[in-house]
C-alpha cells in the first residue's frame, strides 16, 4: 500500500467548557490512501464530526487536541493558522451537511465556487468566471454560464449541494471531507449527488472521507468503513467485509436495527439502552452496558479493549470477537409482532376525500393575492381501525400538511374529512375539540415538541387537563401508567425535557398522544430525527402499542424502509397528490407508478454491490406554487408523453392489483427502463 495521504495517530479531542472537561474523541488511529473512500459511521455523539473538524483545524478554541494528524506529510495539530489556511484551500476540500447554510447568500454562485482559488492566488481574477462555469459544468449543473451568475436562493437544495461539491473540488484537493453530504437531501436527489460525488472522486483521484449515519450510503459509496462509538473507532474493515461479517457487537447491532427494503419484514432488533453522552462514558469497554455479549462480563466492565486484527483485513476492539458471529446469526424471539396485513374491518375509521389545502401568496403593500400554493391538491385516503397507512413522499410534497389538515391544525380549502362516520371539516370549535380526543399527533422533532419549561409529568398530563378529565381518568396514576406503557421509568416524572435524550423525548411525546386513549395517531416522521438504534426501539414500541391498544396509525415519512416495515398499506405522494396507493407487499414488490419505481430504486441498500441498477431521476421537485401542467411528475418522468403534459391522470384502480394509481402509463417496471450499468461505474470507465 502506498504512503497514506492522511494519517491520524492517537487523536484525542477534549472540550473544556464551563464544567468538567468532556472527551469527544478518545484516541483514534486512521489512515486514508489516495483514491480511497473511507466511510465513518456513528450515531450522534460518537465523535465523527469532531474528528473531521480536527483534521481541518476548524475546532473551536475550547477544544483541546492531542495526537498527530498528518495530511500529505504536513502536521495539522498545532500548525500555524497560515499553514492551516494554505492546507484548507489547496489540499483539503470540505462538503458540509446543509447546503443552505454553507453557501454565502449574497454572493453569486460562480464567484463563490472560485473564491478560494482566487484568494490563494491560484487563479487570476480575470480567469475566475470562466473557470467557475467549467466547474459548474463538471457537477452537471444545466446552463452553467447562466447559473454561475445566480444566487444561492435561486438554486434548489440538490443544486446547491452540487455547487458546494464544485467549490470543494475547485482546487483539485487531494483529500475531500464530506460530513453527512446527503442527509439534508431527498432520496431521489441524494442518489444524484452520491453518483456525482463518486464520479468526481474517480476523475480526480482524491481521497474522500465520508461521514454519515446512513449505512446504505456507506455501502454504496465507501471502499473502507470505520465504525465509531463513544469517541473511539470500534471496528474498521473493507466495506464488503464489514457488512457480511461484522466483528464488533455494535456493528452487528447497527445492522440488525436497520429496517431494510431488500429483506422480508422481521422484527427489528434494537440495541438496548441509550448511546452514552461524552460526559459520562462507561468504564471498560464503552459499549458494554448495551452489549449482548459483554453486559454481564467482568472483563468488559473493567478493561478497555484495543483494536486488534479481526477477519481477513479488518480490525475490531472487542474482547470476544469470536462470539460476534453467533450474534449476527441469532434470530429474534419467534413471537415477535411482525406487522402482517390484517383482515380489513368493514368500517374505515378515517376517510379523507379530495382534500385540498391551498395557501394564498400575498405580495406588495396591499397584500394582494398573487398566487396559490397548492400544498395539498386532492388527496383521498382511508385508514381503518387498527391498521397503519404509510404516507410517503419527498420534502415539499404536502404529506405533513395533509396530516395537520386532518388534525384540524390547518384549515382545509376543500374536500371532506370523515372520522368515525362524522364529517369533521365543518365542525365548530367545540365539536372539533371532542374529535381531537380520538385523534392525536406525534411530532417529528422530539427536541421542539415538548414545552421546555414544564416537567414531563406536566406535559403528559396536559391533554387530560385540557379536556377536564384529569381526575376522571386516574390523575397521577394514569400519567405513571402511561410512562410504564412507553417504557419510561416513573422516577423520571419530575424531570424537564432537556434532561432526556432524543429517543426518550419521543417516548414522552407518544405518552402524551396516548393520554386521552385515542383511536387514531397521526405520526409525522416520528423516527426521522433519531439515531438508527433508537429508531428501531421506537418503531418496535409503536408496533407493540398498536397491537396492545388497537390503534390506527397514519404514518407520515420519507424513509421508504421504515414505512415498509411498519405499514399495512402505503400511499405515495408527489406534489400535493397521491400518485399510488396499495397494500404494502404489492406496492413494494410491484410498483406501477414511475415515481414509486424511481423512489424505490433510489434508496441506498445497506449491502455493498447490490444496488447497481438504478433509475436516477433528473431535476428536483417543482415548486408547488407553479406545478407543471397535466401530470405534475411529467418533467421528471421517463415514460412521459405529450398527453402527460396536457391531461392530469385520474386516480383509479390498477387492473389486477389492489392498487390505485394516477398515471397514464402505469405498469410494472420493464427491464429496458433500468439503466444498463450502474451509474457510478459507468463514470469510472
Amino acid at each position: 500500500m502506498a504512503e497514506p495521504l492522511l494519517s491520524i495517530r492517537g487523536l484525542e479531542v477534549t472540550f473544556r467548557g464551563a464544567g468538567r472537561p468532556v472527551p469527544a474523541v478518545r484516541g483514534i488511529d486512521l489512515d486514508v490512501a489516495a483514491d480511497e473512500v473511507l466511510g465513518i459511521v456513528g450515531e450522534s455523539g460518537s465523535g465523527k464530526s469532531v474528528t473531521s473538524l480536527a483534521m481541518t483545524g476548524l475546532l473551536p478554541g475550547t477544544a483541546e487536541v492531542r495526537g498527530s494528524i498528518r495530511i500529505g506529510g504536513v502536521e495539522v495539530t498545532g500548525a500555524a493558522p497560515e499553514v492551516l489556511r494554505h492546507m484548507r484551500g489547496r489540499d483539503v476540500g470540505m462538503i458540509f451537511q446543509d447546503p443552505t447554510t454553507s453557501l454565502n447568500p449574497v454572493l453569486p454562485i460562480g464567484r463563490q465556487v472560485t473564491e478560494g482559488q482566487v484568494a490563494h492566488g491560484l487563479l487570476r481574477t480575470a480567469e475566475a468566471p470562466g473557470r467557475a462555469v467549467e466547474l459548474l459544468a463538471e457537477v452537471d449543473i444545466p446552463d452553467p454560464a447562466g447559473r454561475a451568475l445566480q444566487f444561492p436562493h435561486q438554486f434548489s437544495g440538490g443544486m446547491r449541494q452540487r455547487a458546494v461539491i464544485a467549490m470543494a473540488m475547485a482546487g483539485r484537493p487531494r483529500l475531500i471531507i464530506a460530513d453527512e453530504p446527503t442527509t439534508a437531501l431527498d432520496v431521489t436527489v441524494q442518489a444524484q449527488v452520491l453518483a456525482l460525488l463518486r464520479r468526481r472522486q474517480a476523475a480526480t483521484g482524491a481521497a474522500v472521507i465520508l461521514i454519515t449515519h446512513d449505512l446504505g450510503v456507506i455501502a454504496e459509496t465507501a471502499d473502507r468503513v470505520a465504525v465509531m462509538y463513544a469517541g473511539k473507532i470500534v471496528e474498521a474493515a473493507p466495506v464488503a467485509e464489514i457488512f457480511a461479517r461484522p466483528r464488533h457487537p455494535y456493528t452487528v447491532g447497527l445492522l440488525k436495527s436497520l429496517p431494510r427494503l431488500d429483506q422480508e419484514a422481521r422484527r427489528l432488533v434494537p440495541i438496548q439502552g441509550q448511546p452514552p453522552t461524552p460526559g459520562a462514558i462507561p468504564s471498560g469497554c464503552s459499549f458494554h452496558p448495551r452489549c449482548p455479549i459483554g453486559a454481564a462480563r467482568e472483563r468488559c466492565r473493567s478493561e478497555e479493549p484495543v483494536l486488534r486484527a479481526a477477519g481477513p483485513s479488518g480490525v475490531a476492539a472487542c474482547h470476544f470477537t469470536h462470539e460476534v458471529e453467533a450474534l449476527l446469526a441469532a434470530t429474534p424471539e419467534a413471537n415477535a409482532a411482525v406487522s402482517t396485513p390484517r383482515a380489513a374491518p368493514a368500517e374505515p375509521l378515517l376517510v379523507v376525500d379530495g382534500l385540498r389545502v391551498h395557501f394564498p401568496i400575498r405580495r406588495g403593500l396591499l397584500r394582494r393575492q398573487t398566487g396559490l400554493v397548492r400544498a395539498v391538491d386532492g388527496v383521498s385516503l382511508e385508514v381503518r381501525a387498527g391498521e397503519t397507512l404509510g404516507l410517503v413522499g419527498e420534502s415539499g410534497c404536502g404529506k405533513t400538511t395533509t396530516g395537520r389538515a386532518i388534525m384540524g391544525l390547518i384549515k382545509a380549502s376543500g374536500g371532506s374529512i370523515t372520522f368515525a362516520g362524522q364529517d369533521i371539516t365543518r365542525l365548530d370549535a367545540a365539536g372539533l375539540r371532542a374529535v381531537r380526543r380520538h385523534v392525536q399527533y406525534v411530532f417529528q422533532d422530539p427536541y421542539a415538541s415538548l414545552n421546555p419549561i414544564r416537567t414531563v409529568e406536566e406535559i403528559v398530563a396536559e391533554p387530560l387537563h385540557i379536556h377536564g378529565v384529569y381526575d376522571a381518568m386516574g390523575g397521577a396514576g394514569r400519567v405513571a401508567r402511561l410512562f410504564d406503557l412507553v417504557g419510561l421509568s416513573r422516577t423520571m416524572l419530575g424531570r424537564y425535557p432537556r434532561e432526556f435524550s432524543g429517543g426518550q423525548r419521543q417516548r414522552v411525546g407518544i405518552a402524551r398522544a396516548l393520554a386521552l386513549e385515542p383511536r387514531l395517531l397521526i405520526l409525522d416522521e416520528p423516527v426521522a430525527a433519531l439515531d438508527v438504534s433508537i429508531q428501531a426501539q421506537t418503531v418496535n414500541l409503536l408496533m407493540d402499542l398498536q397491537a396492545e391498544l388497537g390503534l390506527a396509525y397514519l404514518f407520515i415519512a420519507h424513509d421508504l424502509s421504515v414505512v415498509r416495515h411498519i405499514s399495512d398499506r402505503v400511499a405515495v405522494m408527489y406534489l400535493g397528490r397521491i400518485v399510488e396507493e396499495g397494500t404494502r407487499d404489492e406496492l413494494y414488490a410491484r410498483p406501477v407508478h414511475p415515481y414509486t419505481q424511481s423512489l424505490l430504486s433510489a434508496v441506498p441498500v445497506p449491502e455493498p454491490g447490490v444496488s447497481g441498477r438504478r433509475i436516477v431521476l433528473e431535476g428536483d421537485i417543482p415548486n408547488p406554487a407553479s406545478p407543471p401542467s397535466g401530470c405534475a411528475f411529467h418533467p421528471r418522468c421517463y415514460r412521459a408523453t405529450a398527453r402527460c403534459a396536457e391531461e392530469a391522470p385520474a386516480f383509479v384502480p390498477y387492473p389486477g392489483l389492489a392498487t390505485r394509481v394516477a398515471c397514464h402509463h402505469a405498469g410494472p417496471l420493464t427491464a429496458d427502463e433500468l439503466p444498463a450499468a450502474p451509474a457510478a461505474n459507468e463514470a469510472l470507465a
Partner: protein
Amino acid sequence: MSASQRPALVAARRVLARKGAFMAASFLALMAIVAFLAPWILPGDPLTQNLRHALEPPSAAFWFGADELGRDILTRVVYGARTSLVTAMGAVTIAGLIGVPIGLVAGFYGGWRDAVLMRLVDVILALPGILFAMALIAVIGRSQLAALVAVGITGIPSFARITRAQVLSLRRRDFVIAVDALGGSASHLMFKTILPNSWSPILVQVVILAAVAILLEAALAFLGVGIPPPTPSWGEMLRTGKSYLYEAPYYAVLPGLVLTLTILSLDTLGRTLATVLEHRQGSTGEPEPEGQRL
C-alpha cells in the same frame, strides 16, 4: 448535572454567578430593603426642618450633611429611594399589564386585531416620554402619580412589541402546535403555553423600563415639574443641590451618586439577564456539551 431544577432557578443562578450582576443585584436589593424599612432603621424624619443646621457639612449627626432647611441629606436620600422605587414599580406594572396582553393578542390572532392594536401602539411610540409626562402634569398637576402614569404609558409599546415578537416565533414551534392539536383553547395556549415561555425578554424589559422610569422621574423633578416638595426625591435634591454647589458640594453628590449607581446596576442586571437568557434559549435542546451535535 443539576437534576430537575426549575429552568427559572437555573437561569437565576447563572445570572448571579456573574460578578457584575451579583454586585448590581446586591446593591438593588440593599436599596430596596433600606427604602422599605426606612421608618424603622433611621432615627430621623426626612421632613423635620432645623434651620440652625442649614447646609451643615457632614458630621457625626449628619453623615452626609444637612440641606438648606437643615434636613438630614442621608435620610432624604433613603426616603427618595422610596419615591424612585414606587415610580419604577408603578410604571412597569402599568406598561406590563397593558403592553403584554396587547402583544399577546396581536401576535396570537394576527389579522385585523394585530393591525389595530399595533397601530395604536405605534401612536404611543410616537410620544416623546418626557414631553408626554410634562403635558400630563400640566393637565393633572404635579404628583407622583403623573410621573408614574406617564412613564408607564410610554413603556407600553416596548412590552407590546417584545411580547408580540415572542408570540410570533413561539406560535410556530412544535410544542405550541402540540397543545393546539390536543384541543387546548386559545386562552390555554396564550396564558399557559406561550406566555410562560416568553418571560425572558419581558423580564429584561422590566429591568430596562425600571431604569428609564427612575431616570425620568428624576429628570422631571430636576426640571421642577416632578413630585411636589417636601416629599423627598433624588431629582429634586439634585435640583436644589446644584444651587449650593459652591457652598455645599456634598449636597448634590450623594443623591447623584446613588442615582448613578442605581441606573448602572439596573443596566448591568438587564444586560446580564439578556445574555444569559438568550444563551439558555439557544440551548433548550440537549444538555450536551458543545461540540457533540456538530
